[in-house]
Symmetry: C2
Subunit: 89 residues, 2 copies
DNA sequence: ACAATATTTCGCTAATTCGCAAAATAACGA
DNA sequence: TCGTTATTTTGCGAATTAGCGAAATATTGT
């Protein structure tokens, strides 16, 4: 399971997540919206999958990706901790 | 100004931020707590500074680093957006 | 001016990442 | 089975990164 923050460190991958925020999209639909070669995008999908940030389901010919918001929320919680000074020690 | 998520993608840098969460620390104090060579840590400090995640002040001989929570909060807000489906468009 | 302490910059190597084109795989419909 | 469409895997080069030791820089105290 790859590190979530590593997956989030690429602008291209964050852009993919932004697109998936609204609705699930196939690899091809994402490729129509992001100016990168399909193999390049496929690599990014893999990183996002390994981090648990998206899940993929085949639907006929296409593979549909959807965002996994609960994993985003975990990252959120980790960041939130940094904004709060330790209260009990 | 370097990308905040890129800066957060390194476990070593997140560990530095965790230490700074409680209180500001000098480079040497951080080096006592993290098993990496000082030049390596110095490089990480630089990345964190370029991302605006920490600020540095010389105090006599030492350089004291403190976390910049407002920039962490900006990253937080960017992540939070990903957890909410677009409502108005 | 000198020695001691704290930190950074330099120069290097090994490993990783990002992009692509070409080839391989998977599912569908005729 | 064959052809088409959708996506991934492979293999590559260029660029970046993370680590280190040695040397350089900055500050303090004598």
């Amino acid at each position: 399971m790859r590190d979530v923050f590593t997956a989030l460190s690429s602008p291209a991958r964050r852009q993919i997540l932004e697109l998936l925020r609204e609705r699930a999209l196939s690899a091809g639909e994402i490729a129509e919206r992001i100016p990168l070669a399909k193999p390049t995008l496929s690599g990014h999908f893999n990183v996002l999958k390994e981090a648990g940030l998206v899940s993929a389901d085949r639907q006929g010919n296409s593979i549909v990706y959807r965002i996994n918001t609960s994993v985003v929320e975990d990252a959120l919680a980790a960041l939130l901790r940094l904004t709060r000074r330790e209260e009990v020690e």
